[in-house]
């Protein structure tokens, strides 16, 4: 055992590391990251002269690439990667986790699309955020006109069971617009997920068409063209056009890149016999 009294700090989180053995891996007392013992060799336990790359999660031996296998284990709903050595006891202890299919990972790697995906995310996301803000300002403006100005008389009223609630159409239709905006925002973020990019792109295209049609209809239904000051309408329309254009461009890009990924995945599955 080590006799030094210095506190050894974890190189990952800064927590205290209690050195349990001079020639074995110890673990940080806080985050449990493995830390080398003071006199421990940095080499693989089976191949002296080759630097170790991993630590067996069961016995704590240092291992080189030839001596470990990676597994994916479900820890309370999170899929985490663990490493074990080839000792039968360690393999047996790790069998609850499934072997990582590295070939599948290699074939399904989509890092080539990172740059394009980042641009697509920013375009669709930016457009969706503009649409969301646009819808929020739209409802605020309409409520203000309905309840605090005489312009509310321009807006139609609904009578339900003989009772007319002032501003009901404004509230109901504008809330629907807000929900549609939230749906756009949600879908625009999903274009960043590889396996959902294609369908999210298509869905975005559909939603932006619906949103445009719904907006035009609301404008006509509430007689917004008759507003004495067209500033409100112009500002909102400009924001809407910019947002819709961005979403349109982004979603087309998502469909294009997403389709390429879809083809790549299908090929990978065919190659590995996963299609059946």
């Amino acid at each position: 055992m080590t006799t030094e009294v210095d506190v050894i700090s974890c190189p990952v989180c800064g927590g205290k590391v209690l050195i349990e053995s001079d020639d074995k891996v110890s673990h940080c007392g806080y985050c449990a990251s493995p830390v080398l013992g003071p006199d421990q060799s940095r080499m693989c336990v089976n191949h002296p002269g080759i630097l170790a790359k991993e630590v067996c999660n069961v016995c704590g031996d240092l291992l080189c690439e030839d001596c470990f296998e990676k597994r994916v284990g479900d820890y309370g709903g999170k899929l985490l990667t663990i490493v074990n050595c080839s000792k039968p006891s360690c393999v047996s202890e790790s069998e609850w986790a499934k072997s990582l299919n590295e070939e599948y990972q290699r074939l399904a790697n989509m890092d080539w699309a990172d740059r394009a995906d980042n641009i697509i995310l920013r375009i669709t996301g930016g457009g969706a955020v503009i649409m969301m803000i646009f819808e929020l300002f739209f409802i605020l403006g309409m409520l203000y006109m309905q309840y605090f100005t005489s312009l509310g008389s321009l807006f139609p009223q609904w009578t339900i069971a003989g009772i007319t609630i002032p501003g009901l159409p404004v509230i109901a239709l504008m809330i629907m617009g807000n929900l549609l905006g939230a749906l756009l925002l949600q879908t625009s973020l999903q274009v960043f997920v590889h396996d959902r990019q294609f369908t999210s792109g298509l869905l975005l295209l559909f939603l932006v068409v619906i949103e445009s049609a719904f907006l035009l209809w609301r404008g006509l239904y509430f007689n917004l063209r008759q507003l004495p000051d067209p500033t409100f309408l112009l500002v909102l329309l400009t924001a809407f056009i910019i947002g819709a254009f961005l979403i349109l461009v982004g979603s087309l890009g998502a469909v294009y890149i997403g389709n390429k990924k879809r083809i790549q995945m299908n090929r990978a599955k065919d190659k590995l016999g996963l299609s059946g």
Binding site: V12, C13, A32, V35, L36, G49, L79, M110, M132
Partner: protein, 496 residues
């Protein structure tokens, strides 16, 4: 372990301490009600409280009973030394006063308190005796259980239940501090010294691969490693050397600090973020470290665990969580409201019955009074309360719902700008600069769990066997290639 170094959690408190806390809070609540009652009685001009004496009584009860009982009761069961001492002093004072009262007035002394048209008879002598008995119990209990009710001075006490639970599961053995530690790894440096360390530290070295210090963020060359330890060039802290002995995937100039828990690749502190560990006894650490790609969760679940893929109902539940929680609160409130109404109706009905039984006398007045009481208590108050609730719901719920939507928009902006990924290195330096412990906050738009759904499991067994065989062969070839290309161990370590 010395007692002052022991970490106590809220679950270590004795059960009786919790009871004492609740008891004191109950006394405080009664004191508050009494204060309100005295003020109302004074305002309506009760003959028992002439010349504004009611306000004086109200102030005395408020300052002497309501406030101290509520404050002490709130803190005494949190394993706080000062609160326990305050409780003992207060209990002694309360015992003394109640005892004096008993001595002067006797056990049979009663008060008649007017309440609208009725009079409440309070056996104040008995109440005083009750106070003497309970406060004596409190003092006795606190003295007898002093060691468990009062942690040693300077001992760390975890009062947050969530944190305490994690600690009880051996997940949080150490508190962290938002200050640079000195070379002993324990003492905190002063603000000026911390600032100095941050100013002089360098994040790059010209001497080859470096290790980033988890204390100050400075880079110390790997060549200075001795016995698998490294003294930081800037703050002097002794760092252990990670068993992950490869360069960071993104920064070849740094030794990887650890592996990403999700993909298993190796990264430095600049490329890893930290998240709450899964609730699973097999996971020993308090944290999982994750690289940006896995944090973003762009791959299928066989590769990653985090994901952007928020089901649409989750988005709205994020935005509308306040909506639903407010709805639940309203639901509970309405339930409680209904049960209170039962009692509200029972009291006037009993009063009405007693009025009916009284017969004769000023029968007409009684009848009118009873009718007014019925109108006020049975009809007006519930309706008024109902209207207030409805108005509250109409205003508050949409307001909170829209606040949720705005919050989601802000989260989405962070995701788009990619600023929701905070590396452990950035967080550490921020916490030192801002002098506050960084709260671990996960993006609302990136849930951290995802159900197990592996393609691997769905394929037929024959195909799986073929796939495994192919995988094994390709893996063998790959390893052969790696073995042939392998660099000598010294590569990372210069010419040592």
């Amino acid at each position: 372990m010395p007692e002052e170094n022991k970490v106590y959690t809220i679950f270590d408190r004795p059960k009786g301490l919790r009871f004492i806390g609740l008891l004191q809070m109950a006394f405080g609540a009664v004191g508050l009600l009494a204060t309100i009652g005295l003020i109302v009685a004074s305002i309506v001009g009760s003959p028992e409280l002439p010349g504004g004496i009611g306000f004086v009584y109200a102030a005395l009860v408020f300052v002497g009973v309501a406030i101290p009982c509520l404050i002490i009761g709130n803190f005494v069961d949190d394993l706080r030394r000062n609160a326990v001492i305050a409780q003992i002093i207060y209990s002694l004072a309360a015992m003394g006063l109640a005892g004096l009262f008993l001595f002067l007035r006797g056990l049979q002394y009663i008060w008649t308190v007017p309440l609208f048209q009725i009079e409440l008879v309070i056996a104040i002598g008995n109440l005083s005796a009750f106070i003497v008995a309970t406060q004596a119990f409190v003092i006795l209990y606190l003295i007898l259980t002093w060691d468990s009710a009062v942690p040693p001075a300077g001992a760390k006490v975890i009062r947050d239940r969530g944190e305490a639970r994690r600690y009880e599961q051996d997940l949080v053995p150490l508190p962290f501090t938002p200050a640079v530690l000195s070379s002993d790894g324990v003492t905190e440096l002063s603000d000026d010294e911390s600032k100095h360390v941050l100013e002089i530290r360098k994040e790059y070295t010209v001497e080859g691969m470096a290790v980033l210090c988890s204390n100050c963020g400075g880079a110390t060359p790997l060549t200075k490693v001795e016995r698998n330890r490294l003294k930081c060039d800037y703050c002097g802290v002794t760092l252990g050397v990670s068993s992950v002995f490869v360069p960071c995937e993104n920064h070849p100039e740094y030794l990887a600090a650890t592996t990403c828990a999700v993909c298993g690749n190796h990264f430095c502190r600049k490329c890893l973020t930290a998240q709450e560990p899964p609730v699973d006894e097999r996971w020993a650490g308090s944290t999982i470290f994750m690289c940006r790609k896995c944090f973003e969760g762009r791959y299928r679940p066989a590769v990653t665990t985090t994901s952007f893929v928020v089901p649409i109902d989750k988005l709205f539940s994020t935005a509308g969580s306040r909506f639903s929680s407010v709805g639940r609160i309203y639901g509970r409130f309405l339930g409680a409201y209904g049960s209170v109404m039962k009692h509200l109706w029972r009291v006037p009905l009993e009063l009405l019955a007693s009025l009916g039984k009284s017969g004769g006398g000023s029968g007409g007045d009684n009848c009118v009074g009873a009718l007014i009481m019925i109108v006020i208590i049975i009809i007006a108050i519930p309706i008024l309360a109902g209207i207030l609730l409805l108005v509250g719901a109409i205003i508050i719920i949409p307001f909170l719902f829209y606040a949720g939507l705005i919050a989601v928009t802000f989260e989405a902006i962070k995701v788009i700008r990619k600023t929701d990924f905070q590396s452990i290195d950035t967080v550490r330096i921020q916490s030192i600069v801002e002098k506050k412990k960084q709260k671990q906050k996960q993006s609302k738009m990136r849930p951290v769990t995802r159900s197990w759904e592996s393609d691997y499991e769905r394929i037929p067994s024959e195909a799986r066997r073929r796939q495994m065989e192919e995988h094994r062969r390709s893996e063998e070839e790959r390893r052969k290639r790696i073995y042939e290309d392998r660099r000598p161990a010294q590569t990372f370590w210069g010419e040592r």
